[in-house]
Symmetry: C2
Subunit: 552 residues, 2 copies
């Protein structure tokens, strides 16, 4: 069968404020302003125009980059005003013509990345002291309102024009795909009948009613709007614990060496075997002396190994998701000295109250969540010479399975550290160890207090790996497992993995990716949305949508 | 467009042990045995044969009936052995040829009903003291193992043949659709990597390994199997709080009067307006003297109004789901004396520790959950003469919106009672009032202590209804709301309602219906499963499935 990736433009996740086409970033002491000013003709594809501050993946890559730089390059920023430079329009949401022209896989990946960006804003608020005010200076529809929902506060201008709305269901026969419905009832706790009404009102809700229904926090007349937004931002900034007189570090471009079947970063290698539908991601442990004071870490900046390695890992995962849809299995490997890995993380832990160490740990956490949410089968292959220790062992725990070679002639170990005990939780709020041992919580503590490397049989006994074949069986067993996996239906695997990876409690985050995204993916395939007479297909044309009214 | 219900056989949910074709129910004091013995040629459609104890909706309707009768007709039963009368086979799961020949809507509805039946077994264990042992006397695959997972304990015969398995993903490119993946990791807390391995092993897992992986609770050799199962059942029976010397009541057939556009029960009317795609369900309050002692309730049996009304409501909802796919909006109305409704529930509350009152309350709870999970838009229309009080007001709270007429010339009220305060929780474990007022929990108590009827403006102020139009606007506003709703894409509405109805915490139950079912619905549309070369299509033929390997 044909692949489902036709017409997907190639995408780079590397950008810089100097090159932003759609956002302006301005600073005024502790308050930054991030203004949307989408350039109509600068979409990722020439097939659509990004009118009315509507967005595509390219616009969102700049947003994600801006937030990442606010974290690392601007420790003085405590509050961010998110607003628009367009008259009477804040944001019209995801571009409908882009959605219409996209493959199913593109739509799903686009929603996943935009969801991660918005959850990243909420993470910045909760864990990094960067608070967000959505300053809605005009119409705020669909994905525009979902962006506002990701902010701590929403302020709307009170004029005859400006409203918030989620018109996806009545207008396009799809769902607000970026967490909107979940945030309505779970974050803003809008009464469910009012949320129901709101989600079917094309024209949305404005003014006092928007406040009464909890859709926005405040409305102000146009004359007072800017001053009021500033007051909200300053008040939020007062709740931040960011440092007063620190300088940021610079996030330089990663500049990996890209060839047809490999991407080589400084500490990460990505190798792609398209014929077997397998990619191998290898992370190398640090070498040499590590900086071990906040000052030295700051001086090392983006070259400090944990930040460098996880930025490269993050980029590798995003590339695989976006450019390599037919890769079914991602194999994680590590090499180098595990003691160095543990040392790097011990340093981070020691200085975790320093803003930069905190940002690095939080970034590692978000990268590992990105791994958990990647719709590919993940296998950790643990061989002699590996560096699966501490946080790198989280990569093994994020995998669907762990294979560890048990060869009496070669030392092969894994090791835990405090980094496995809390700082890197999954989306459901639990550590990967806790999710692994839901049935036997004492095994979490047993593994953590072990305090030394686990050999293959010890790792098996402790429940830390799935299989430990000996040297006679190793090659065949691993090869067959990967080949077998790559041969299964990718859709069934995606659904299976999404259900098995997240045992235990659910959070707003897991609800967004589990419940809301799954329903949206379903709807994104339904003829009522995407068929020849579907609402997404006929939107903006002279034709009216025609529906099969069978309820399912 | 064509409806999506072609080739769906008409279904009745009314059955009786005397007419079971697929199950045998036997009694031995406190232990009942429910044996699966599926009649190959007695499927709902002649297009497939129910070989190897595979099942279709008809088999599951009998199972649901058996469990309902164990609750009401056999209060002496404390443990149920679920087993098979076939040699070397417990159950092969849902019939694949049935699934292949079914419309998307049929598959989705089939999974929903089977999920409700299995969750009903868990409810019987938790809340009614009926414990279940799955006695796996042979191969137990797919839906067969999912049925076992719904039991309190799973006992497997240890021979060379018998294994448990979830072969859906590797064999059919779909998911185990009846809660299997969720129960694996959330109920039995199987380690996620082992769950991953298990869910891709066509041949499954047997013997000691099945115990080690927590897939079953015990294995016994064939010679000891029956005796061991009996011991497990007796031990579980010992944990039950069911009464010792009580007689059951009889659940008689409902026998409604069915015409082309109406179903008339004794206390419920269902009217169907297919041209407007609207059904109206009207529940009538009781009349005359109500029984008010356990003895009198027992004597009234299935004619006691709460049981009668909710059995009829349950049947009406199931009919609408199964036979009327194009009905988009269900309007709930009530008539009669609300004081009588409150009295009926006061009596039930007073005797809630009596086994029969407990069963009735639990059944009301399950029926209301069935309403919550119904993929139709639900509007409560509250007019003068209504009986929306106490538990009937739960029906209004289950609705997506509440419209209440505010006409100064006509008295129109709603009223709460203790039945709104706890005994009838949603699938997420919260009362509908708590979910409604997540943002302002004090409003729950305010509404509950009010202690008298709410007029339209009082109900608006208390947040109990969405709109209270006056007599001039009423007809148009209600009509336009219903017409507008019925015109939207049914798929987008299904997804929207599934996300807005269940704010707050998630439970295994909401995970099954929200996360797992949503993914399964997605996969049930994907060409890799149901396309001309999909695995569900080619299963059992000479053709091999061909997959589009693009991961999504």
């Amino acid at each position: 069968m044909a692949t489902s990736t036709s017409a997907s433009p190639a995408v780079s996740f590397d950008t810089h404020p100097d090159r932003y086409q759609h956002w302006k970033l301005a600073f005024d002491g502790p308050v930054a302003t991030l203004s949307m000013d989408v350039k109509e003709d600068a979409g990722l594809s020439p097939d659509y125009k990004l009118k009315l501050n509507s967005y595509d993946l390219g616009v969102d890559i700049e947003l994600a980059d801006a937030i990442q730089r606010l974290r690392f390059e601007h420790p003085e920023v405590r509050a961010v005003i998110v607003t628009s430079l367009k008259e009477r329009i804040f944001c019209a949401g995801a571009n409908i013509f882009m959605l219409r022209g996209s493959s199913h896989a593109w739509k799903v990946n686009f929603c996943k990345f935009t969801n991660e960006t918005r959850l990243g804003m909420e993470d910045a608020s909760e864990n990094s002291g960067i608070k967000f005010v959505a300053a809605l200076n005009g119409i705020c529809a669909g994905g525009g309102y979902e962006l506002a929902l990701a902010c701590d506060e929403i302020v709307l201008v009170d004029d005859s024009n400006s409203a918030v709305s989620l018109p996806e269901t009545p207008l396009l026969a799809v769902l607000p795909g970026t967490g909107g419905l979940t945030r309505l009832v779970d974050k803003r706790m809008v009464r469910r009948d009012l949320a129901d009404v709101f989600s079917t009102l094309v024209e949305g809700v404005k003014g006092k009613r928007a406040v009464e229904w909890r859709l926005v926090d405040a409305v102000y007349p146009a004359t007072r709007f800017k001053a009021a937004v500033r007051e909200h931002a300053q008040k939020l900034a007062g709740k931040s614990d960011r440092p007063a007189n620190e300088k940021g570090i610079v996030l330089n471009a990663l500049n990996p060496k890209v060839t047809d079947d490999a991407v080589e970063y400084s500490t990460v290698s990505l190798q792609i075997d398209r014929s077997r539908r397998v990619a191998t991601v290898t992370v190398r442990a640090p070498e040499g002396q590590l900086p071990n004071t906040p000052q030295a870490i700051h001086a090392a900046g983006d070259q400090f190994w944990p930040l460098r390695a996880f930025r490269e890992l993050d980029d590798a995962i995003l590339r695989l998701r976006q450019q390599e849809p037919e890769i079914g299995v991602i194999v994680f490997k590590t090499t180098g000295d595990p003691a160095k890995v543990l040392e790097a993380y011990r340093i981070l832990r020691e200085h975790r109250n320093h803003w930069l160490a905190r940002e690095i740990i939080n970034f590692m956490k978000r990268t590992l969540k990105r791994v958990d949410l990647t719709a590919r089968s993940l296998f950790a292959i643990i061989e002699p010479g590996n560096a699966f220790a501490g946080s790198l062992f989280e990569l093994a725990l994020a995998a669907d399975r762990q294979y560890m070679l048990d060869d009496p002639d070669q030392r092969n170990t894994v090791q835990l550290s405090e980094m496995n005990a809390g700082p890197l939780p999954m989306s459901n709020g639990l550590t990967r160890l806790k999710v692994r041992f839901l049935a036997e919580p004492s095994k979490v503590d047993d593994a953590l207090v072990h305090g030394k490397p686990f050999g293959p049989q010890e790792a098996m006994d402790a429940g830390l790996v799935s299989f430990a074949p000996d040297e006679l069986d190793w090659d065949d067993e691993v090869r067959l497992a990967i080949e077998g996996r790559a041969a299964f239906s990718p859709d069934a695997l995606t659904g299976m993995e999404a259900n098995l990876r997240f045992a235990g409690p659910e959070t707003m985050e897991t609800k967004i990716f589990g419940r809301l995204s799954a329903w949206q993916n379903w709807i994104f395939q339904r003829p009522n949305a995407v068929g020849p007479k579907g609402a997404l297909t006929t939107y903006g044309s002279n034709e009216r949508a025609e529906f099969d009214y069978g309820r399912t």
